[in-house]
Amino acid sequence: MRPLAGIRVIDLSMGWAGPLAARHLADMGAEVIKVESCERFDWWRGWEATEAWIAQNAAEQSPSFNTVNRNKLDVTLDLTSAAGAALLKRLVAIADVVVENYSAGVLPKLGLDYAELAKANPQVVMLSMPAFGTTGPWAGYRAYGSTVEHASGLPHLTGAAHWPPAMSHVAYGDAVGGLTGAAALLTALRHRKRTGEGQFLDLSQAEGLFPLGAHGILEQAVTGKAPQRLGNRSATCAPHGVYPTRGADQWLVLQVLTDEQWRALCDIAPPLRSFGDGADRLARRDELDATVAAWTRAEDSRELMHRLQRAGVPAAAVYDMRDVLADPQLAARGFWQMTERAYVGVQPGPVPPYRDADAPYRIETPAPTLGQHNRRVLGELLGLADSELEGLARAGVIGDRPVMPQGA
C-alpha cells in the first residue's frame, strides 16, 4: 500500500507549481481530485486558446499539463455558479487537504476562501501558494516562475560579472514552488493526523528560492558583501568550468575539487601534467583553461564523461532534452515510464525521485482529461443521481469540453 492511501486532496491549482505539489501527494497514494471548469480550465493546457485550438483537442495535448497531473482524478465545476460552489464545499467536507494558487481575491469573491471552506470542514488543511505569499504589500501581485526567480536574488548570483543579472531557467520558481508546497502540506498533514487539527498554510514561491541562493544571502549577511560572479570558475579550485568537446555546441562540465581528482585527471590528460598544485593552477588559470579546452575539443563529451567519472573525476556531458530521455542511469532505474494517454498516445513520464524499493513507484494513471471523472466523483462519491448530473451539464456547471474563455 502506498504511504498516503486514504488521504483525499482537492486540487484547485493550475499551472506548474500547485499541480506539482498535489502530484507528489498523488504519487504517494493520496486520492487527488483536480477541479477545473470548462471555461476556466487549467491555463497550462494552453494560454492562447482559440476556437480552432479547442476543436483540435489541443487542451488535452500539453506535455506540461500531462506531466504534472498524472495519478489524479479530474472534475469540472463552474465555481462562479451557486451549484458549483456548493458541490465544491461538499467535496471539501470529505477531504483532508485543499491546494489552491488562484490570484489573491478570487476565492474570497467566490465565497470559497479558507474561512468558508473551514466551515464545511474544520479539520481541513488548506494551502494557498501565491507568488509572494498571502500577506504583505505584494500579496495580490501576479507572477510566473520567471517572475519569482527575478525577485529572489538568485539572478545576481548567476553568470559572469559583466552580464546583467541572469536567469537559470524559463520558470525556475515553479518547480521549487511545487516542492515547497508539497513539503508544507505534508508538514500540516502530520499535525492533523496526530491532533485532528486542520489549519491554513501559505507559502511565498519567491521565498521558496531563498534557500537555493543561501550561499549568496549568507555571505552578504555575515560579511556585508555579495559574492563575486565568477561565471563558471571557482574561487578555490581549478580546473572548474564548461569546456568545448567534439561537435557543434557540445560541452563538458569538469570540476576538480581535490588533489586526488587532479591526479586522476592528469593520468587521463597528459597535457595537464605541466601544472602544479592547487595554488599554481589558480594562478595560471587562463593557461590551464586553454590547455583543458585544447584537450577536450577532440573528445566526445559523453565518452569523456564516463572515462573521467570512472576515474573519480566529477564530469558531465552538457545534455540536451533528448539526452535526458536517453540517459543510461535514468534508463537503468526505470525513470521514464511509458504510459498511454488519450489524445497523445504513449508518453514518457518521470517517476517520483524517491523510491522505497529497487523499482520506482509506478505511474498508475495518466493525466486525466477535462472532467473525465465527473461521474465517479460527483456521482459515486457525492451520490448525485444521473438526472442531477445531466442537469448540471445542461446548466454548464460541469462538462468535458473546454469553452472559449470570455475576456481572456
Partner: protein
C-alpha cells in the same frame, strides 16, 4: 487568514526524532525542514565534523589576531543548515560508536544517510527501531551505472539539460552557483521521507522502509516537461542567449534608470498591457506579435525598443504600475537589497540564527507558514559536539562509558 494556536501548543513535527548521519547539504537541508517544524533533529557527526562544516561561505575572522586556519565552527552555511538541531560528535565507524548510535536510534522516526550500499547496512538499526524510515539521499541513487559517480551540483545541472540553456549563444553554457541541486534534493527527500513517516503512522506501511532519493532525479523537476515535449517534437530548442528562454517573450531582466526590472509577458492580455505600460503603440497590435512564439521570433526587433523604454523609467515605477495592470513584473533585488524589500520585511522572510561562537546572523526562514503551528523565526546553531554528552546520557550512556568513548576518540565534546 490565521488560525488560533494549536490546542496542544505543539509544533507540527513534535515528537519526531531525526538523526542525520549523512552530513551533506542534501541530508542537512532535509533535516533542517524537520527541525524548523519541531522535530528533534540530531546531527551525528564524525569527530572531525560533518562535511558541511567545511563549506563556504564562512564567518569572517573575529579579530585580526585570529588564525586563518578554519575550525569546524566557521562555516556559516553549516550554521544555517543546522539551525534548531543538536550536534553529537560520534564515530559510528567504530564498533563502540556504532553501538551508541544504535541506542540513539531506538526511539527515532528517521535516519538521514548519504551513503551508497546495501540495505543490510541498517539491519542493526531496524532490529531496535523497526518502524524507522532510513532516508538515503545520494547524487544518483542506490542503483544504476552512475551509483558511484562523483556528483556535484553542476554535474546534476548538466545532466538534467538545464545548463545547456543558460548563457550566450556561442557558449560556453553557464553553471548555476552554490548548492542549488543539493537543496532541491534535500527538499524532495523531505517530501518522500515525511510522506513515509505519515504512512507508517497511518498504518499503511509496516515493513522496514529504506527510501532512496536521487538528487539527479529530483532535479529533473526543472526539465522533465521539456524532455517530454522533446519526445513529441524530436527537436530541442537552441541556447538563445542570456535571459532568453523559449517559449516566452518578452522575458528578461532589463536595466532601468535605477536598477533592474524582471519582465514576463506571456498571455495576449499581458502583452497588450505591457505594450500600454511602455507606450509601444502600434507594435503591440501587430498580428504576428499576438503569440509568444511570434514575438520570440522577432525578439531582435522588439528587445531594443523595450530596453529603451524601460531605461527611461524607474524600476519601482514600472513594477508597481505594471502589476496594477496585471503584468507579472518583478524588482530584481541585489543580495544587499534583498533584506530590505518591503514584501520580504512585511512577511519576516529573514530570521536570526544565533551561533554560539560567531553571534547572530540573518538567514531565510522556512518559506512556508503554518498558521496554527508556526515555526519559530529565530534559532540557534550548534557547535561541533555541543550535545554529545547530553544526547548520549539521555539514551543511557553513563559517565563512565562516556569517558571510555572519549578516551578512545569515539566521541568529542563541543
Amino acid at each position: 487568514m490565521t488560525n488560533s494556536g494549536s490546542a496542544l501548543g505543539a509544533q507540527a513535527l513534535a515528537g519526531l526524532k531525526v538523526l542525520d548521519i549523512g552530513g551533506t547539504v542534501g541530508t542537512a537541508y532535509c533535516g533542517k525542514l524537520f527541525a524548523a517544524h519541531g522535530a528533534d533533529v540530531i546531527d551525528v557527526e564524525p569527530p572531525g565534523g560533518a562535511a558541511t562544516r567545511a563549506l563556504a561561505p564562512y564567518f569572517p575572522p573575529r579579530s585580526h589576531r585570529q588564525s586563518h586556519a578554519r575550525t569546524p565552527n566557521d562555516s556559516v552555511l553549516h550554521a544555517y543548515l543546522s539551525a534548531n538541531k543538536r550536534s553529537v560528535a560520534l564515530d559510528i565507524a567504530h564498533p563502540a560508536g556504532r553501538a551508541a548510535f544504535v541506542e540513539l536510534v531506538r526511539d527515532a522516526a528517521v535516519v538521514l544517510d548519504a551513503s551508497v550500499g546495501p540495505r543490510s547496512a541498517f539491519d542493526d538499526v531496524f532490529a531496535v527501531a523497526p518502524s524507522v524510515v532510513v532516508s538515503r539521499i545520494t547524487w544518483f541513487g542506490q542503483t544504476g551505472p552512475y551509483r558511484d559517480y562523483a556528483g556535484t551540483d553542476s554535474v546534476c545541472h548538466a545532466l538534467i539539460g538545464m545548463v545547456r540553456g543558460i548563457g550566450p549563444v556561442e557558449g560556453p553554457p553557464a553553471l548555476p552557483s552554490g548548492y542549488q541541486a543539493q537543496i532541491v534534493g534535500g527538499l524532495t527527500a523531505y517530501i518522500g521521507t515525511l510522506g513515509h513517516v505519515i504512512g507508517i503512522e497511518l498504518g499503511n506501511r509496516v515493513e522496514p522502509c529504506v527510501l532512496d532519493t536521487s538528487i539527479f532525479e529530483a532535479n529533473t523537476c526543472f526539465t522533465d516537461v521539456g524532455a517530454v515535449a522533446a519526445f513529441n517534437t524530436g527537436t530541442v530548442a537552441p541556447r538563445m542567449g542570456v535571459n532568453r528562454f523559449p517559449p516566452t517573450f518578452p522575458l528578461g531582466i532589463y536595466p532601468c534608470r535605477d536598477g533592474w526590472i524582471g519582465v514576463t509577458a506571456l498571455t495576449p492580455s499581458q502583452w497588450a498591457a505591457f505594450g500600454a505600460l511602455l507606450d509601444l503603440g502600434d507594435l503591440t497590435a501587430r498580428p504576428e506579435y499576438q503569440t509568444t512564439l511570434g514575438r520570440l521570433a522577432d525578439a531582435a526587433t522588439l528587445e531594443p525598443i523595450i530596453m529603451q523604454r524601460v531605461a527611461e523609467r524607474s524600476a519601482e515605477e514600472i513594477f508597481h504600475r505594471g502589476q496594477a495592470l496585471r503584468i507579472p513584473l518583478a524588482l530584481v533585488p541585489t543580495m544587499e537589497q534583498l533584506f530590505t524589500v518591503d514584501q520580504y520585511v512585511a512577511r519576516a522572510a529573514f530570521g536570526e540564527i544565533v551561533h554560539p561562537v560567531h553571534g547572530a546572523f540573518k538567514a531565510p526562514v522556512t518559506p512556508f507558514r503554518l498558521y496554527r503551528t508556526p515555526a519559530p523565526r529565530d534559532a540557534v546553531a550548534p557547535t561541533l559536539g555541543q550535545h554529545t554528552r547530553a544526547c548520549l546520557a539521555a539514551v543511557g550512556v553513563d559517565a563512565r562509558r562516556f569517558d571510555d568513548l572519549r578516551r578512545a576518540n569515539v566521541v568529542v565534546e563541543g
